[in-house]
Amino acid sequence: MEAPVDTSQIVQFAKLDELLALSRANSLWPLTFGLACCAIEMMAAGGPRFDISRFGAEVFRPSPRQADVMIVAGTINKKMAPAVKTLYDQMLEPKWVIALGNCAISGGPFVFPGQYAVVEGVDKLFPVDVFVPGCPPRPEALIEGILALEKKLTGKRRWPVVTPPQ
């Protein structure tokens, strides 16, 4: 039997792909899924001052089937890990993951020799697209994470990067 041909190398719909990527980048529906402290900052990012809805990303869907991006906001421990993995598996392609906060990145402050409960980073469970550091990250950081994900999708950044004055 022949090896399956990777058709994406032969047939490309460049413009359509671009359009789809642009659409997906503008319509990232997150999963309503807060684990710990970072979830409060995720809520604050939806609040009036930061307003994640400007980028079309405020449609928090409670069902993983309808969500596009999973914002892992908090510590994952060994009891929770199978549930998080299930949620990831229940999400449909294309799907992305933002690891929000140090706990989701590496276990954060809860890693010490002899620790027995915390999964040291959500990338131990499934691939992560954007890491947003902080304990907890500020809402701006989450918005920056969403912009970074948009850049990953479309190849270009929505806004020029602001360099802070020296």
């Binding site: 309503t32 001052r49 549930a83």
Partner: protein, 375 residues
């Protein structure tokens, strides 16, 4: 609506089914899981299953020095981090008999009460989401941002504060904070009235909450429930008065209680507490003395052997730290008595025979922070 008596009793197993609410569920406020045995829409048994965010705080206490454990206290109940700070610095100060300068104590009270308001605002908005009202969340977060600006200015973080130090504070407050706090108090009072007009007096909200999930004072005692849950059952128990700490005895405030014990009573207690917190802040700002914010503290902390307790009134109720020391620079044992844990423990009994939306309204009214339960 309460169930007819034949449903409140466990029925034949084939007539019921199990509904897992959580660990990922919009009403789970994080990762609480409730295993509900349902008979149609009636809940015959709602069993909370914990541990999905167990983060080993008590084990970590045995692995680091007294000062190194302090940042952990801001992450147990992340919504009332300063109260937890206070309990932990309080227990060390009690054991070592460290004198805290009065200015530091007043600033502790001011920031703690600001923290309490921010916590209650988050609870209020999350509770309203449980009841299907989305807009209050945005209003509350708008006000909360102003409050967080103030706290961020002095503590350096927005949520998981680590501001208190053994013997005082890490930063003094400046005039801009005082002016900002006064402005916030002046601004928040009409906002609370607005909340009352817009939300509390809403007929749908009242119908949803009145008479739902009654909890008696006796049940609270049997389960050790404290905070707004206990005060919503008519018992005026507040650690700030019962075991006075800091400068609370010098400040006038009331302990709001509502005797009904239903979800509405707990809701009203929260709303009244925000007003009382504003009152405390205004008084403390007026009485704020000058002076240092850091007392004399030994360079290396070694608590004399023995065990020490310190309780504070956190936003969710009585939070107690019990430490056991064996005269080393790391604790031998740190026990954290968290209010959400005890408040949730009565859930199984209180929720029996109610229908699903009411069970979730009751859950929301208990004001839970899940990492506070699991630690």
């Amino acid at each position: 609506m309460t169930a007819p008596p034949d449903i409140a009793r466990p029925t034949k197993p084939q007539e019921t089914f199990v509904l897992n609410v959580g660990p990922q569920h919009p009403a789970a406020h994080g990762v609480l899981r409730i295993k509900m045995t349902m008979d149609g829409e009636f809940v015959t048994r709602a069993e909370p299953i914990l541990g999905y965010i167990h983060r080993m705080h008590e084990k970590m206490g045995e692995n680091r020095t007294w000062a190194q454990f302090l940042p952990n206290t801001g992450r147990i109940d992340y919504l009332s981090a300063l109260h937890y700070n206070h309990a932990f610095v309080g227990v060390v100060e009690r054991a070592l008999r460290i004198e805290v300068p009065p200015r530091a104590e007043f600033i502790r009270v001011i920031t703690s009460e600001l923290n309490r308001i921010s916590s209650h605002l988050v609870w209020w908005s999350a509770f309203l989401i449980d009841l299907g009202g989305m807009t209050p969340l945005l209003y509350a977060f708008d006000d909360r941002e102003k409050l967080l600006d103030l706290l961020e200015g002095v503590t350096g973080s927005r949520l998981t504060y680590c501001y208190f130090r053994f013997g005082g504070l890490c930063n003094d407050i400046d005039d801009s904070f005082i002016a900002g706090a006064r402005a916030f108090v002046a601004q928040m009072r009409p906002r609370l009235k607005l909340y009352r007009d817009l939300v509390t007096d809403n007929i749908i909200l009242r119908k949803r909450l009145e008479g739902i999930g009654p909890i008696s004072a006796e049940m609270c005692r049997k389960y050790g429930a404290t905070g707004p849950v206990l005060r919503g059952s008519g018992v005026a128990y507040d650690v700030r008065r019962a075991e006075p700490y800091s400068v609370y005895p010098e400040l006038a405030f009331e302990i709001p209680t509502y005797p009904a014990g239903d979800s509405m009573a707990r809701y009203l207690v929260h709303m009244a507490e925000m007003e009382q917190s504003l009152r405390i802040i205004a008084q403390a700002l007026d009485k704020l003395p000058a002076g240092p914010v850091m007392g004399k503290v030994p360079r290396v902390l070694r608590l004399p052997p023995g065990d020490y307790c310190f309780a504070v009134e956190a936003a969710r109720g009585r939070f107690m730290v019990r430490v056991v020391s064996d005269n080393k620079d790391i604790p031998y044992r740190v026990k954290l008595r968290t209010p959400s844990f005890s408040n949730l423990s009565l859930y199984e009994e209180a929720s029996r025979g109610m229908i699903l939306p009411d069970v979730l309204a009751l859950l929301g009214s208990l004001d839970l922070v899940i990492p506070d339960i699991d630690r």
